[in-house]
């Protein structure tokens, strides 16, 4: 069952329109919420006049920051700064509605509650806000200039954070180097754009004094706990349900969004069910973004291609507030090291407040930028040294016998960055063979170029820290019907939790897969855990399911052994029965054991716990490090500079594979987002901080004609950190696509010496870079 190519349990409901998403929740008497948001990136709020809005038809309530009274509060800091060598962190989080000042376009200013969303939006148009516009901090490069406008005056500068981490002594490495390659790199902002936007529905039951919240979040349990605290309720009085969620990719792990704390508060205050569903324009400006860094990096290397050290100093565009701490730039620092031995490393970043929506993790979560820097540095060094770029990588791989491999600096989970296991050469070799690297370079490439085709090949490597702590849990019960229920706190946004967790439980309990029912993301079912992020569902929650199922199996064996007067170890679980090994007739069904484990009369032994049920938790000591290689052959249209991908190969090692069908789907989807990031998607701001392409007509997501067929190969190097040996896979597909495009495009334009140092690209950007390279020659 583990490792089987099993179809998904959740699909029939999704395919027939019978799966509950937040906007599908309908409660009689429900009111609807709209927000009046800031039109300015940076302005003083002079006055907010809601008198006209209050008079509009169907309006039930209108709230400004002032109307929130004591409930107005800056959101909590979700992730504290790391215990790194040198850390400055200026914590500035946002209150739910702006007062005094607005700091990004889209910041909520007024909340309106009305009989319908249409009427609520009419009323939002009737709100009159008087602003005094201020100069905006838009480009991260100028955010720390002496004369830059200040996003938060009381900080005294726009410095959100400053972190320095070192491994070894880079200065000595540089002194011993035969070659130092220095480069400036840029990696600009994009947005996750889940097809389902954010949404919150809240219902207060006045008589039961109980609040139910449906939230399209990746973290229902922390949302429940936080809401209870803010609202002065017990955690038992609040239930948060993340039902089916239409894609998350990171921004739905952010908390607390202002809408998330306002809608439940107003539902209680008005004693009416409330619904707010984000529209697409709001999603562009008010859901968090990612990427946005500028690097000055250098690589110190010997003439035979041994890396001596790397120095990387970068600016990180943090946006207007920093409630998510430093996860993204920390991931950049750690993932820059890749699968390579880097004896000396100096990494320093400054996170800068800007007048834009805040940056929080989006699939890859900072890893992209680090991988872009190291892979581009290696490509540049390979050219200068005259060494094949793949050979250069191979010479620097960490060897299989060097694990666990300690990279010293502090990772996003605050442990000292240590790779648990890995074997990188087979990954490189397989990708190289699958794409036909040698053949293409020797024969096919030259032949196609002779025909006048602008064609290029690329292959890059990466590692990915996955499956971080702190922990997740699962409760598993065999019901008297013989059906098995698995409940866990991590919600699903399409990753197949209903299927993979069922596979694990079915495997451990010897029951058919169709007898396992899974519930996720409902604090009414399970209320310990953190959420779905950092490629950790299968690794952390899956391991908790494994442990709980193991405990239930032991309990079933013990009960069966007692009944049949056998030894515990002679019992095996198979086909829904506990049977004595080698004695086909001697068996009892799990269904009967479940009934016996919950007697209605009589006495039980002291210490007996009722039910064929167990709860288990799993917390890994550190992240599990997956790795992979992506390879591409692409062709550039000489007239339009459109790029057509001819071949795309992914070789991926995420340890034990639980379900290859689902894993391939995760990789495909990641690559599609990576392609968007590399060649289609860039958030374009003007100098006043207005987002110029806040629609799907102007911000281009890859379509079925843009994304090629992706060939996937697997290597399996088990993780020693969990019982099944799994590592995470959710983000892998998206991580190395930028440097891959860059390398292959460099190769296609080798004749003019193109070297790409920025992502995202586009046909027009590529044309500019090619023209620049031609002029320089």
């Amino acid at each position: 069952m583990i490792g089987a190519r099993v179809k998904r349990n959740e699909d029939p409901r999704l395919l027939t329109g019978q799966a509950l998403f937040v906007d599908d929740v309908h409660i009689p008497g429900m009111l609807h919420v709209a927000f009046k948001r800031s039109d300015y990136a940076h302005a003083r709020l002079l006055s907010v006049d809601v008198a006209g809005a209050r008079e509009m038809p169907g309006v039930v309530a209108v709230y400004t920051a002032e109307d929130l009274g004591d409930y107005w509060q800056p959101s909590p800091l979700l992730v504290p700064p790391p215990p790194a060598q040198y850390v400055v962190f200026n914590q500035r989080t946002a209150g739910q509605l702006a007062r005094d000042k607005v700091r990004y376009v889209g910041e909520p200013v007024v909340m309106i509650v009305a009989e319908s969303r249409y009427l609520a939006e009419d009323a939002a148009d009737a709100v009159v806000v008087e602003y005094e516009p201020l100069d905006a901090v838009v480009r991260v490069e100028v955010g720390l200039d002496e004369d830059a406008p200040l996003v938060h005056e009381d900080v005294g500068s726009n410095l959100a954070a400053h972190v320095i981490q070192t491994k070894g002594d880079y200065a000595s490495a540089r002194a011993n180097a035969d070659l130092v390659v220095s480069r400036h790199f840029e990696y600009d902002r994009g947005t996750a754009a889940p097809i389902e936007t954010r949404g919150v529905v809240a219902q207060w039951d006045q008589l039961a004094r109980h609040l139910t919240v449906w939230d399209s979040t990746q973290a229902p349990i922390p949302i429940r706990n936080g809401l209870a605290g803010m609202l002065g309720l017990s955690e038992r009085q609040v239930r948060v349900v993340a039902p089916f969620v239409g894609g998350g990719f990171g921004p739905k792990i952010m908390m607390f969004y202002p809408e998330e704390t306002l809608v439940p508060w107003a539902a209680i205050k008005l004693n009416r069910p409330l619904k707010w569903i984000e529209d697409r324009l709001e999603n562009f400006v008010a859901m968090t973004h990612e990427r946005g860094q500028v690097h000055e990096a250098e690589l110190a290397i010997t003439k035979d291609g041994k890396i001596l050290g790397i120095k990387d100093v970068f600016l990180h565009d943090n946006g207007a507030y920093d409630p998510y701490g430093l996860t993204v730039p920390l991931n950049t620092q750690t993932h820059l090291l890749g699968p390579y031995i880097v004896p000396h490393y100096y990494t320093e970043f400054k996170a800068v407040f800007t007048n834009k929506i805040i940056v929080t993790p989006y699939r890859g979560a900072g890893r992209q930028h680090g991988v872009f820097v190291i892979e581009r540095l290696l490509d540049a060094a390979a050219k200068e040294l005259g060494i094949d770029p793949l050979e250069l990588r191979r010479r620097n791989f960490i060897h299989p016998d060097q694990f666990p491999y300690n990279n010293v600096i502090i990772a996003q989970d605050f442990t000292s960055l240590t790779y648990d296991s890995g074997n990188y050469e087979p990954v490189l070799d397989r990708a190289k063979a699958m794409i036909g690297w040698d053949e293409f370079r020797a024969v096919e490439g030259p032949r196609l170029r002779a025909e006048g085709k602008r064609i290029g090949i690329g292959l890059v490597m990466y590692v990915e820290g996955t499956g971080i702590g702190p922990y997740e849990g699962a409760r598993i019960q065999v019901e008297p019907t013989g059906k098995v229920t698995v409940v866990t706190g991590v919600g699903t946004q399409g990753q197949g939790h209903y299927t993979v967790f069922a596979q694990i439980a079915a495997h451990m309990l010897g029951v058919p897969l169709e007898d396992v029912l899974v519930s996720t993301g409902d604090t009414g079912q399970f209320n310990w855990g953190t959420g779905t992020f950092a490629s950790r569902g299968a690794t952390v929650a899956g391991s908790a399911v494994h442990a709980a199922a193991g405990m239930v199996a032991e309990k079933a064996k013990r009960l069966a052994a007692e009944m049949m007067e056998a030894a515990d170890e002679d019992i095996e679980l198979q086909g829904g029965y506990a049977q004595v090994k080698g004695m086909p007739g001697a068996r009892v069904s799990l269904s009967e054991l479940a009934a016996r484990a919950n007697p209605l009369r009589g006495a039980v032994k002291p210490g007996t716990e009722p039910g064929l049920e167990a709860t288990a938790y799993f917390g890994p000591p550190m992240q599990a490090t997956a790795c992979g290689a992506h390879a591409i052959i692409l062709e550039v249209d000489d007239e339009t500079f459109d790029v057509k991908v001819q071949r795309y190969v992914v070789v991926h090692d995420c340890g034990t594979v639980l379900n290859p069908l689902i894993l391939e789907g995760q990789v495909h989807g990641g690559v599609a987002q990576g392609i968007g990031n590399a060649f289609f998607e860039q958030l374009a701001y003007d100098e006043s901080g207005q987002l110029l392409n806040a629609s799907f007509m102007d911000y281009l997501l890859p379509t079925s004609t843009d994304v090629p067929r992706i060939e996937v190969g697997h290597e399996e190097t088990p993780s020693p950190l969990n019982p099944m040996g799994v590592k995470g896979a959710g983000e892998a597909g998206a991580i190395p696509v930028g440097p891959l495009y860059a390398q292959a495009l460099d190769n296609a334009f080798e004749d003019i010496g193109l070297e790409i140092r920025e992502i995202p690209l586009s046909p027009s950007k590529l044309w500019e870079l090619v023209e620049g390279a031609r002029k320089r020659r």
Binding site: T16, G17, F696, I710
Partner: protein, 175 residues
């Protein structure tokens, strides 16, 4: 001023008084309770809200409910709204893992139904062109393309209704 809309949806007649500005997507979802049709962008790009209006795929977010008066609509629930009894097109998506979060899926299905009626043996390129007006953020489209090939094969084999589809969809469930 409200307007009377008489409309047939999935073979059933409905009469409602609606505002002229009410979107067809909101009408289907919130007036009729047919929440299988999803709204992704409300500006006609993502295709999640696609339904059939007199057999032709339309963006229900760019259509007013009053424009559907006197006409016939089919939504995903009209393919099959029963998880235990999938239409062959739905079961092809299940078998090929043609969905992840599933939010965009109803729009894909409603785009594909008339496409496969016109062309039951499409090439990969024809499939990709047919899908190019629907955005999926999860799958990278590859398994969707595979699902369409499978659905076309089912159609060529004479499978066109849920009753004929003997796939074991819905064999396992969730709480």
């Amino acid at each position: 001023m409200d307007h009377v809309v008489d409309v047939e949806v999935n073979g059933r007649g409905y009469t409602r008084d609606v505002e002229a500005r009410l979107l067809l997507s909101d009408f289907l979802r919130h007036e009729l309770g047919l929440t299988g049709t999803h709204v992704g962008c409300e500006h006609g790009v993502c295709g999640a809200c696609t339904v059939l209006l007199d057999g032709v795929p339309v963006r229900s977010c760019l259509t007013f409910a009053v424009q559907a008066a006197g006409r016939s609509i089919m939504t995903v629930e009209g393919l099959s709204g029963d998880p235990d009894d999938l239409h062959p097109l739905q079961s092809a998506f299940h078998e090929a893992h043609g969905l992840q979060c599933g939010f965009c899926t109803p729009g894909f299905l409603m785009t594909l139904l008339p496409f496969l009626e016109e062309n039951d043996d499409p090439t990969e390129q024809e499939i990709r062109l047919a899908l190019s007006g629907n955005i999926c953020r999860c799958t990278g489209y590859q398994h969707i393309v595979d699902a369409v090939k499978l659905a076309a094969a089912k159609r060529r084999a004479g499978l066109t209704t849920p009753a004929q589809e003997e796939d074991v969809a819905g064999e396992a469930g969730m709480l």
